[in-house]
């Protein structure tokens, strides 16, 4: 366990396994987060993202495998290592009757070095709420307070577990801007999310996680490119007509790279929409199947997940 650690690596784990009774939450996971990047664990609820991150954070002990964080292993309280990290849990209920500035001050007192309390409040746009009781904050403000408490030690590595889950679009955008500000200052961020927009906007690299395994890894662009096509054509036909449309026929249409079929609706990943759609409509007409719905969009990480698992991210 004393091999020289790679200075470019912020988090590294090999063969990570964690079981809860019969349930395997993390199944032999290998991962590396490089310093200075924003890395995303993208997957549906229950994919094992939180368990994985909490093992990285030293809050859970894996059943097998090893974890290296900023070149160190978790040992005892790990106070020295902790003071270099910023950790935001999925949900923290701060005391209702404390004021915003008091909560940030409390967290600041745990770190030997860090930011001024006032700077943190400015960073998460809570200056005007500094004197307000936690109880009076909105969901988005509470989440920003939680983010502020993770930033107060000016961390080298920041863990954000589902930072925008349950937030309204405006609060979500505010959180994204804060994370983008951190990225611009060269901080390493590891975040988990089941929002593909969030992963593609914020993350330099994304690991798609399902059932405790990494099923795809790369930049959002690479992952989308792995579909072999940048567009998606979705359509649906009536039930009777559905049997008349074999996947092989659809795959043979011009410029189609992939076909996913789910109860009367299809998703085709295609290179060039303008070549596929006329041929598709002609083929449908030929078989007497009238399209009930037809839409096209640029391929997203959601399509990557769907093509890998046959399920949608938010089904969980």
């Amino acid at each position: 366990m004393t091999q020289p650690s790679d200075p470019t690596s912020a988090v590294r784990c090999r063969g990570l396994i964690k079981r809860y009774g019969e349930v395997v939450a993390v199944a032999a996971l290998d991962l590396e987060v490089r310093r200075g990047e924003c890395f995303g664990l993208l997957g549906p609820n229950g994919a094992g993202k939180t368990t994985t991150v909490e093992i990285f954070e030293g809050l859970r002990v894996p059943d097998a495998g090893e974890v290296e964080v900023l070149g160190e292993y978790w040992r005892g309280d790990g106070l020295t290592l902790r003071s270099r990290l910023g950790i935001q849990l999925q949900e923290t209920k701060f005391p209702d009757k404390l004021r915003v500035s008091e909560v940030v001050t409390l967290f600041r007192s745990f770190y030997p070095h860090g930011l001024e309390v006032a700077s943190v409040l400015a960073l998460v746009s809570l200056e005007e709420k500094a004197g307000a009781y936690v109880r009076t904050l909105s969901g988005g403000q509470k989440q920003r307070l939680s983010l502020g408490c993770a930033l107060v030690g000016d961390p080298e590595l920041l863990f954000l577990d589902e930072p925008t889950t349950g937030l309204d679009p405006q609060s979500r955008r505010q959180t994204w801007e804060i994370v983008e500000g951190l990225k611009a200052r060269g901080r390493t961020v590891l975040l988990t999310t089941h929002y593909m927009e969030e992963a593609s906007r914020l993350c330099d690299r994304v690991a798609v996680v399902d059932h405790g395994r990494v099923i795809a890894l790369g930049t959002p662009r690479e992952l989308i490119a792995s579909l072999g096509a940048e567009h998606v054509v979705e359509f649906a036909v009536g039930e009777v007509a559905a049997t008349a449309l074999p996947d092989s026929m659809l795959r043979a249409l011009p410029s189609v790279e992939g076909v996913v079929h789910d109860e009367g609706s299809w998703r085709l990943t295609v290179r060039e929409v303008h070549r596929t759609v006329p041929a598709l409509l002609a083929a449908l007409a030929e078989r007497g199947a009238e399209p009930m719905h037809l839409a096209t969009h640029h391929a997203t990480l959601e399509d990557v997940f769907l093509s890998l698992t046959g399920r949608r991210l938010r089904d969980g």
């Binding site: 954070e57 809050l59 309280d77 106070l79 020295t80 902790r82 003071s83 950790i87 849990l89 999925q90 949900e91 923290t92 209920k93 701060f94 005391p95 009757k97 404390l98 500035s101 008091e102 940030v104 001050t105 409390l106 967290f107 600041r108 007192s109 745990f110 770190y111 930011l115 001024e116 309390v117 006032a118 700077s119 400015a122 960073l123 200056e127 500094a130 408490c149 030690g153 200052r185």
Partner: protein, 352 residues
């Protein structure tokens, strides 16, 4: 981070900040302030009122209507501790049965006393009635005794009660104050978040104890001051020893509070355990009546309870002016309860 901060916030050490957070939370909760400070004083005042010392009351006795009745009534009326009245035979028996009078005199050549010898008041009335009638019939007193009447602070019920209430309060606030806040923090993931930040576990639990001890001063002080000034409850021993005993009691119950809150994730869970621990002590530890009323077979259990030890020690210092040495067994028992539960709590504590 280039922007100049508009306000500079002072950041104290982690133990101080955690303690301060605890104190702020409690003082900003009006209910908590009521239960910790106001309730014990109210309870003391109400119980003090209910059990205040009254002048001895005259004993009601009945004389059965008849030829000698008026003579006997006149004789009995001269006795200051009797309140005689004439009633027809039937009514007199009924009044005796219902407890409106404690003795019935049937006048005749020789009077007959009807009373219940198991009632102390009836026996007292019998002695007083007999003495008055005998004296009227010509018996002379052999001598007139001198009398010293003792009604002084320190022997009243309220004097017994106040140290017990103080002990009960130290138990309640120690256990609830610590147990409640820890379980709320665990339930809301706050404990986990604090240890995820580099907060020391010893600071987290230490802040609970320190804030308890800080609260002890106004809490016990208010109750004792009220009892002393308004009810005249004495403090015969040293103030320093009283403070020491209270501190040790508060620490012992803080340890017990920490232990009961070591595992539960919900308020319901911790409430159940708290009651399981505290209800026996409310009953057996001599808050409202002396532990000597329990049979000898139960005494080892009763005497092993931490609240019994605390109440005994508080009564010793306040009412009997006991010094440190005779209280050592009680203090040792408290220290043992406190330290054993503290160690167990640390061992089994659930941080997330």
């Amino acid at each position: 981070m280039t922007a100049e901060p508009a306000v500079a916030y002072t950041v104290r050490g982690p133990l101080a900040e955690l303690t301060l957070a605890r104190i702020r939370e409690l003082t900003r909760e009006p209910e908590a302030v009521f239960w910790v400070f106001v309730f014990p004083i109210l309870l003391t005042a109400i119980l003090g009122l209910a059990f205040r010392s009254r002048p001895p009351e005259a004993l009601p006795v009945a004389v059965v209507a008849g030829p000698h009745a008026n003579t006997d009534l006149a004789v009995l009326s001269t006795a200051s501790d009797l309140k005689p009245s004439i009633l027809p035979e039937g009514e007199a028996r009924q009044a005796l049965a219902r407890g409106r009078v404690v003795l019935v005199v049937s006048s005749g050549d020789t009077p007959v006393y009807s009373y219940d010898p198991t009632q102390p008041e009836s026996r007292a009335a019998r002695l007083a009635v007999d003495a008055a009638l005998q004296r009227a019939a010509g018996r002379a007193d052999a001598f007139t005794p001198g009398q010293a009447q003792l009604i002084e602070p320190g022997t009243r019920y309220v004097d017994f009660l106040v140290p017990g209430l103080l002990g009960m309060n130290l138990m309640g606030t120690g256990m609830w104050g610590i147990g409640f806040s820890l379980v709320v923090a665990r339930n809301g993931n706050l404990l986990k978040r604090l240890i995820a930040a580099p907060a020391r576990r010893s600071h987290l639990l230490g802040a609970q104890l320190v804030s308890r001890l800080i609260f002890l001063i106004p809490e016990a002080g208010a109750l004792l001051l009220f009892a002393h000034l308004a009810l005249g409850v004495p403090l015969r021993g040293s103030v320093l020893l009283l403070v020491g005993v209270s501190l040790l009691g508060a620490l012992a119950f803080s340890g017990l509070g920490l232990l009961t809150a070591a595992r539960p994730r919900t308020i319901e869970g911790v409430s159940g355990i708290m009651n399981l621990v505290m209800v026996p002590m409310w009953i057996f530890s001599g808050i409202f009546f002396s532990t000597e009323r329990f049979p000898a077979g139960m005494q080892p259990f009763v005497q092993a309870l931490p609240l019994t030890a605390l109440n005994d020690a508080l009564r010793g210092v306040m009412l009997e002016g006991t010094g440190l040495a005779p209280l050592l067994p009680e203090l040792a028992l408290l220290a043992a309860w406190g330290s054993v539960s503290f160690v167990l709590a640390l061992k089994f504590f659930r941080w997330q």
